[in-house]
């Protein structure tokens, strides 16, 4: 199935993401930043769908927008103090920060203009019906599962993170 109106959707989603990102780093109110980040994450899920990665899009919606951002909103609401909105928002070395980011941006532009020919523009259109099965083959397959060990390590990492977060946030250890 040929993708329909791809440039329109790409630019729409890209604009949503960039605007969301700008709002995240410029808002005084942390809840507004969190809502802007949620919009950016949902737009990113849309871009994953355009890249024919529906499973990653689904994981992004469930984990990032529906899990991590809920965690952020909880913490923001638990520690919300109104006086932070009236304080200075940007720290003293903001000029150096922007200069660094500018240097990094210059590096990106240099790499992408010089290396533009490395990424030829092929019209790929693979059906997405086998995407989840493909990801599962790479993770769990008997002969093709190269990421099984990483998967187990990731589960251990999550266990350590759970224990760490609980210990950090307890009142008395």
């Amino acid at each position: 199935m040929a993708p329909v109106a791809t440039p329109f959707f790409f630019y729409l989603l890209a604009a949503t993401m960039i605007i969301g990102g700008v709002l995240v780093i410029t808002r005084k109110n942390a809840v507004h930043s969190a809502l802007a980040l949620i919009t950016a994450l949902l737009a990113q899920a849309g871009i994953y769908l355009m890249l024919y990665a529906p499973f990653v899009a689904g994981v992004q919606i469930i984990l990032y927008a529906g899990g991590i951002m809920v965690l952020f909103l909880f913490v923001i609401m638990l520690i919300s103090i109104e006086r932070t909105e009236k304080e200075r928002q940007f720290n003293k070395q903001w000029l150096v920060g922007i200069a660094t980011a500018g240097a990094l941006g210059g590096l990106f532009i240099a790499v992408y203009t010089k290396g533009k020919s490395l990424f030829p523009e092929g019209r790929l259109s693979y059906p997405e019906s086998g995407n989840t099965q493909g990801v599962a083959d790479l993770l769990y397959g008997q002969h093709t599962g190269t990421y099984m060990f990483s998967f187990e390590i990731a589960s251990l990492l999550l266990l350590v993170a759970i224990i760490g977060a609980v210990v950090m946030a307890k009142k008395r250890i």
Binding site: V4, F55, A57, V70, L73
Partner: protein, 420 residues
Amino acid sequence: MHVIIDYIQSYLGSDQTPGAAGNWFWATVYVLLVFVGLSVAVIAMNWLERKILAHMQVRLGPMRVGPHGLLQPIADALKLLLKEDLIPSEADKTVFWIAPFIVVLAAFTVFVVVPFGPTHAITDMNIGILFMLGVSSLSVLGIVTAGWASNSHYPLIGALRSSAQMVSYEVAMGLAVVSVILMTSLNPTGTGTLSMIGIVRAQQAQGTWFIFKFFPLGLIGFFIFAVAMVAETNRAPFDLPEAESELTAGFHTEYSGFRWSLFFLAEYSAMIAVSSIAVTLWLGGWLRPFPNALQGARWDFFFALFPGITFLFLGALAIFSASRMPKHPYFRIQTLGLAGFAAVLVLIGAVLLYPPVSRVVQDVFWFSAKVAAFMYLYIWYRGTFPRYRFDQLMKVGWKVLLPTGLAVLILTATAGFFVR
């Protein structure tokens, strides 16, 4: 002009959903149909809930507004639309305004993949069930922001409690769903599927609804999901965060008029959405009862009569209650209205008995009938069970449902391994 008509007609004989076939016109038509059907269903649920709860509590419920209170939901909607729109003084206006829309968007977007029939879905995504679980978890965000934006402590506590409850029971729901996805991989092609239509086709191919598979594992999985879905939608007996006697209506305390009706709409849509998940995953979706045990043209004909007979029965009920209305001149309009309503129901029933129509409507009817049974169960729970206290609620979610879900998952995997 001919191009447009050809485009519209090119989809009609297809065996795919409009989204999969790439047909914009029919996809939009299906979206509008789902939207209208959902609104009608929410209105009907409002009336049904008040009447059924009333009859369970040995009283009559709304009787004044129309015959037997049939116009009560319309009166409620008018009242809510015309109410004054209050915003608390220090509330954050932008977030206060956005929060109901997040919940409504999440509740309505879920219906993009709900399969009302083998080709009667808006689209059939490869990750159907994952999409449904993910988008319904976005409503937690709307609730949290609604509670915070109200700038008052009752809504904030209600919102935090409600979102903690929803997040906890999502885990149990996810585990129950995963055990069903495992069962879909036991079909003849050897690969499982996450798509909703694929799950129902797997039940059709394996010859059994998943609630009866590997008995009692399917049943326990269904029970876990049934309890978790009631908690997920903040309905009784898990409705502490929005209970009026405990928290003065929780996170939607400060919302009045149209905004409150948006929350209400989203709550009922979410109920219908999770019931659709339960029906698709465990109860065979659009399949008629006994698809493999009672096969053959005669049984097909018998089951094809059900849609028409249901509406004829409802029409007969309406005629009976019209005949029992008081014979006072003040009740003449109501009696006429009820008789007209009965005539409409009988007409729909007669149309549904006509074979070409009933062939098309079959799948949608069986799916809707099963979802309607779940809606009745929701109302029954509300009328019967006392409310859970919040710590009991969290204890049930984490200490009872989660281990049971894990056990069902492991046992299902073992049973599937031995069946292979």
